[in-house]
Symmetry: C2
Subunit: 355 residues, 2 copies
Amino acid sequence: MADERIVPVIMSGGAGTRLWPLSRAARPKQLLALAGDKTMLQMTAERFAGWASAEAPIVVANARHADEIEAQLAEVGAAPSAIILEPIGRNTAPAVALAALIAEPEQLLLVMPSDHFIAAPERLREAVKAATSLAGEGWLVTFGIAPTGPETGYGYIRRGGPIAPGVFAAAQFTEKPDLATAEAFLSTGEFSWNAGIFLFRASAMIEALRTHAPEVLDATSAAMAGRARAGLIALDPDAFARSPSISIDYAVMERAERVAVVPLDMEWSDIGSWDALYDLLPKDSGANAASGDILLEETEGCLVSSGGPVVATLGLKDLIIVATPEAVLVLPRGRSQEIRKLVEELQARRHPGVS
Amino acid sequence: MADERIVPVIMSGGAGTRLWPLSRAARPKQLLALAGDKTMLQMTAERFAGWASAEAPIVVANARHADEIEAQLAEVGAAPSAIILEPIGRNTAPAVALAALIAEPEQLLLVMPSDHFIAAPERLREAVKAATSLAGEGWLVTFGIAPTGPETGYGYIRRGGPIAPGVFAAAQFTEKPDLATAEAFLSTGEFSWNAGIFLFRASAMIEALRTHAPEVLDATSAAMAGRARAGLIALDPDAFARSPSISIDYAVMERAERVAVVPLDMEWSDIGSWDALYDLLPKDSGANAASGDILLEETEGCLVSSGGPVVATLGLKDLIIVATPEAVLVLPRGRSQEIRKLVEELQARRHPGVS
């Protein structure tokens, strides 16, 4: 196994509203302390802190969040070599391209979302170690999570033949299957959830982009032209806007030749809904997950989260209640995927509670 | 019937938390727009506006609310002759005593709570007319509401023999009976709810206080000593604090000789709980009573009230949800009497959400 040094790339461009009203455009999920005292971004940065092989990270972020990201990383002593500021969101392919362009061609990049939960980062480290040599040889390595159920909200990766101990050729990518398909996937034992974590040599990714997504490479190269390779990096907004908005999975991983998958059996969550967060959080004796200023009487099985107001409940069961000074959400547990309806309605009204 | 002129006395000393978190010490029920665009205080002031026989009202209020009360009354063009400011709350007997002391002895005072709902004030006016002559003769007249159910949260008045058309001797006062007692009361047909509305000659009330509650009369007289009889009237706080804290019902009405009751069959509510307010408010096609910035999806039978944040709900049934920027309350309909537990717990913690 090569003793390669690895550059973590923290992808912080998301501006999702799936945890509305706590998450919103101005304060997305990665900037919130959802599963502990630290924000998801801070937990992501600290995930590499103890790795002898890790260099200073590169962060790719929405320009709107630059100050907050710098402040949060400073709080946990994380010193990124560069923070690349995207003027608009263009999904993950341009973000990965930017990181590959700013790195030295020979460097190994470990790309990670900033807003996912990983209970045991040491397992990820072992998996990264197992794949380092292959990445050094030019393979694009993905990491797959052992599924715990037929989730329809995730992408799935099917493993093909083994190519190294614990590493397999990636045979198929499927985004968000229907329930029957997901159940069929699970029954084969050959599928992992796509965790959005990738390991590759910068030059290999650039070659793959040149082959499979040249518009992405051209636009990001132009957006970076003449920029420094360290510190806060503001892109040329017009050039960057010319990139298609496309995921790295769809632009490259599903199409490239030498793509590997390392299956990982570890607790992981993309915290993609209030129900997913409820599953993750510790519960009190009444099966309530409470965070913030909360007073519960005769309340069971509820997720109650406040980003400000005191929330007082009495006689409730299996509800999700989330409060901020600007907005309050109440719905039954199990239906949190449907908050999209509410958020879209508020967006249509240009309501300040979603901005 | 004498053509007496009547001075409305608006009792605005309450600082209840039964509609917490919308109502709180700093912003009690009478200062809220609960059942329309106007506040309960404004609706109370306007109740007399069209009466040819009504003089400018006297207001007895908590000193803490002086500015808000003046502003709210000015908004509806109500010009009280005096606003008596209580430095602390001492229940209704001292408040009634203050009004009786500031009035001319011969004046008829019509005392009314500032935080009750009356759908048809013209019925009350008719009842007041019917009792004016007796009040002029020195009777202390109460007004009773025809009960619509065996409520245990109200006071009851039993009527005795008739003393004038529509007016009866008051034979018995019972505060907050248990359910069996309330049911027995209703079965007799002789009981009314005590609406806290009283009509009397100022001199008659002072005589009754002298006989039945001399400490109240002494303390309030001392608190008023040397004060003007118009405008904002600040009491001597030490003198006023010496008054016992006691209701006018208990101090005088239950004990005095010549007490009458005028039964009234009209829609009335003391809005003593969120459930009481739900009963009162207009509902949408899903039987929801919503006020403020609210977005309801698949929601039925809910009271949703916001004093600030947007409240978005999905898939709910028969809940009470009340939100302010500082506090959020969620509980099932039918249990709103129990919010006392929550408020007391927050008070014990000296939580700012109840101050």
